[in-house]
């Protein structure tokens, strides 16, 4: 069965520092992978997605993620974090290529210090 693991529950960084949020997945075939962000009191917003092709994908708000099949990972990165990036981040994998069901990880809460 498909699953997603986000090993970091809570990460704290200083504003301007680089960021990497980890995501590992379990899926038998080439997965559809997603990162969503949830600002306080809001719903989730799509940051980026990977379906196929270039393994480095660019998203909104300066985020990028790299798909590494050998490591079953899809880590999210940002070179310089802004205070407004403080939020909860969710990695998700598609439950199958003929369904829109997503399986979400448990989330990583990002705190940014000035």
């Amino acid at each position: 069965a498909q699953s997603v693991t986000q090993p970091d529950i809570h990460i704290t960084v200083s504003e301007g520092a680089s960021l990497e949020l980890r995501c590992n997945y379990s899926y038998g075939a080439t997965p559809y992978l997603f990162w969503y962000v949830q600002s306080p009191g809001q719903g989730l917003q799509l940051l980026l997605k990977y379906f196929s092709g270039d393994t480095l994908v660019q998203g909104i708000k300066g985020f990028e993620a790299e798909f590494k099949r050998s490591q079953s990972s899809f880590n999210l990165r940002k070179p310089s974090v802004h205070w407004s990036d403080a939020a909860e981040y969710f990695c998700a994998v598609g439950a199958g290529h003929n369904t829109d069901k997503l399986i979400f990880g448990t989330g990583t809460r990002l705190q940014v210090f000035p």
Partner: protein, 114 residues
């Protein structure tokens, strides 16, 4: 912009009450979803619907039912609310190619059952 509207942001109900959570989307999306979000557990799929009057169980359907009488509206029903259903409920919709995965979320309905 796609808009997914959840009618109630905050609700407080008593054990045993019947609870309706309403969700409306304005982009003519075929697929709609109800997720439950709990700290440390991420998002878990309760029910989803890929057409009017169609529904499928997600991962945690027990204690819930749904209704989709019109394409734009997807309701989550708690027939007899219990304290363990205190949670944040998120509605989402998606259309277009199957597996495209870009879920559009509402802002959530935080339910407290006393």
């Amino acid at each position: 912009d796609v808009k997914v509207t959840q009618s109630s942001r905050y609700l407080v109900k008593r054990t045993g009450e019947k609870v309706f959570l309403e969700c409306v989307q304005d982009m003519d999306h075929e697929n709609m979803f109800w997720y439950r979000q709990d700290p440390g557990l991420g998002l878990r799929l309760i029910y989803f619907s890929y057409d009017v009057k169609m529904k499928e169980k997600g991962d945690i359907p027990e204690g819930y039912s749904v209704s989709r009488e019109k394409k734009e509206r997807f309701s989550l029903i708690l027939e007899s609310a219990s304290t363990n259903q205190t949670s944040m409920y998120l509605c989402a919709s998606t259309g277009g190619a199957v597996g495209a995965g870009e879920l559009f979320f509402g802002e959530g309905s935080r339910l407290t059952v006393l």
